[in-house]
């Protein structure tokens, strides 16, 4: 049989769409002039960047002067949290976040926690939602910043961002959201949702790696993370990554254009995948919510009695690329902090599989996965002493 090549790890990273790459190419070789310079060649790149910034702003209903380009999602997250905390410590030292943030937020908060700040980590329920009253109760006089992710990268939970923004606004606390998994995938409107700062990364929506952006509402003061030249209105130094910016803008424009139609398809395929797996594999459970409040392309299932890495390796042998826990920590052996946060016991959290679908995913691929995964689970369970114990116990 021909080796399959099924990519179901879009939440980790995507390829660059050909239309996007095509727009980028001239900026590598021809229009490469430093946009801060004053010769005509530079004026071309300057204008192209400006236009791209406009597209990015439009996609989230912001003003282009509120968009600052970064070297990726992690940089945007680090800058938002450290930059805001350091520039506003005279107002207070308390920051609120959640237990299910990406490490780019969590590790920054841990760092700040060791450096004079007090961090509250809001718990989540078994579907991954925070409780809005927990947030209300956590806010105190010294609270300066709330950072709650828009959509979770592992279990796909979409928070009630608008409500969170409202609570922050009522309490005059700045609200940052890590929207790396949301932007380009679900509608994001910083005005309607009361968002003050927002992080995004191009490689999650078919744009290039190594470029992202931080939206910063006018009037908010941040300390620079990368000091130096006067780029990005003096806020983020470094010669502009012109092709990267052009690519991010183009990819985002396409993503917003196709979003509605795309998501109809994704939701249908995702539901088929989730329902099919739960039905075919006993002792399996869905992590994260069903329906509207789940990212359209995300499926995350736990299979009891087996371990995630083995599942991934067997899937790979069948030509399926997937992930277990969050992508940038596989290679590490700890079970996902997100799965622990929604209440899974350690030994069960180990056996989870994230399948994240994308624009090219077909129904035929879903059928293949539905055929292959149950076999793999069974094989691994046959090797597992835990399954053994369980099966014997049941008798």
């Amino acid at each position: 049989m021909e080796k399959r090549n099924i990519y179901m790890d879009h939440a980790a990273t995507t390829y660059v769409k050909p239309e996007v790459l095509e727009e980028m190419i001239p900026y590598f070789t021809e229009n490469f002039g430093n946009p801060s310079s004053i010769y005509s060649q530079a004026r071309v790149t300057n204008m192209a960047i400006d236009e791209s910034r406009g597209k990015i702003a439009k996609a989230i209903n912001a003003d282009r002067r509120e968009i600052f380009i970064t070297g990726g999602g992690s940089e945007a997250d680090n800058w938002a949290i450290k930059g805001y905390a350091n520039a506003n410590k005279h107002k207070g030292n308390h920051i609120i976040t959640t237990t299910i943030e990406h490490h780019a937020i969590l590790h920054v908060c841990e760092y700040l926690g060791k450096n004079g700040f007090e961090i509250t980590y809001l718990p989540v329920d078994e579907k991954g939602f925070i409780n809005i009253d927990d947030l209300r109760n956590a806010i105190k006089d010294t609270t300066i910043l709330v950072s709650i992710m828009f959509a979770n990268n592992e279990i796909g939970t979409i928070q009630s961002v608008k409500e969170i923004g409202e609570v922050c606004r009522e309490n005059k606390v700045v609200f940052h959201t890590d929207a790396v998994q949301a932007v380009g995938h679900i509608p994001v409107d910083v005005q309607e949702l009361n968002i003050d700062m927002l992080s995004m990364a191009a490689h999650k929506f078919y744009g290039p790696k190594g470029v992202g952006a931080l939206y910063v509402r006018k009037g908010i003061r941040l300390e620079n993370l990368i000091h130096g030249g006067a780029q990005e209105r003096n806020k983020r130094a470094g010669t502009e990554n012109i092709p990267g910016i052009i690519g991010m803008a183009k990819a985002l424009e396409l993503a917003v254009e196709n979003m509605e139609e795309e998501n109809k398809k994704l939701v249908m395929l995702r539901n088929k995948l989730i329902d099919g797996l739960l039905e075919r594999v006993p002792h399996s459970r869905l992590n994260g919510p069903c329906g509207e409040m789940r990212l359209p392309g995300n499926a995350n299932i736990t299979f009891e009695f087996i371990e995630g890495e083995s599942i991934l390796l067997m899937l790979d042998a069948k030509g399926i690329a997937a992930s277990s826990g969050s992508a940038c920590t596989s290679g590490s052996l700890d079970p996902s902090h997100v799965l622990l946060a929604i209440g899974l016991p350690h030994e069960i959290a180990h056996g989870s599989l994230r399948l994240s679908l994308g624009e090219k995913t077909t129904e035929e691929e879903i059928d293949y996965v539905l055929e292959v995964v149950p076999q793999i689970v069974q094989r691994l369970r046959e090797m597992s002493p835990l399954w053994d114990n369980f099966a014997k116990g049941e008798k």
Binding site: E307, L313, S332, D334, M383, S384, P385
Partner: protein
């Protein structure tokens, strides 16, 4: 993280999976919380390991280590089987990534436990070995560099 072809071979076609109904030595190490449990079954006759089988809950390298370790001890004397080190298992697999070395430690220890189980049942003196404190190992593997 890259696994050798040998590891992948032993992972995808593991040898000696299963249990031995009349095993006279059984050893189990690890814990589910860590994501790794290994259980080894031995059939020992005339001081020779006649058969060995395993059941493992764990990553690719844990399964490959179990497979390789059981293969290496079958046919050996109990003394020789006892001498099988985790390094020998890893080498036989053409190496393991550094963060995965502890998976081969599991194999060494599971065999030690199984052999001592056999010796206990046979009324023989137990041999000395130090079981790694799994929590300590965990910190060692996952702690700061």
């Amino acid at each position: 993280m890259l696994y050798s072809e040998k590891v992948m071979d032993h992972f995808t076609n593991p040898r000696n999976v299963g249990e031995i109904a009349d095993a006279n030595g059984i050893g189990e190490v690890g814990n589910a919380k860590c994501g790794d449990i290994m259980r080894i079954y031995l059939k020992i006759q005339d001081n020779i390991v006649k058969d060995a089988k395993f059941k493992t809950f764990g990553c690719g390298s844990a399964i490959a280590s179990s497979s390789m370790a059981t293969e290496l001890i079958i046919g050996k004397s109990v003394e020789d089987a006892w001498e099988l080190s985790n390094k020998a298992v890893a080498e036989a697999l053409d190496g393991l990534p550094p963060v995965k070395m502890h998976c081969s430690v599991l194999a060494e220890e599971a065999i030690h436990k199984a052999i001592n189980d056999y010796r206990e049942k046979a009324g023989l003196e137990l041999w000395d070995f130090k079981e790694t404190d799994h929590d300590e190992l965990h910190d060692q593997v996952h702690g700061d560099e």
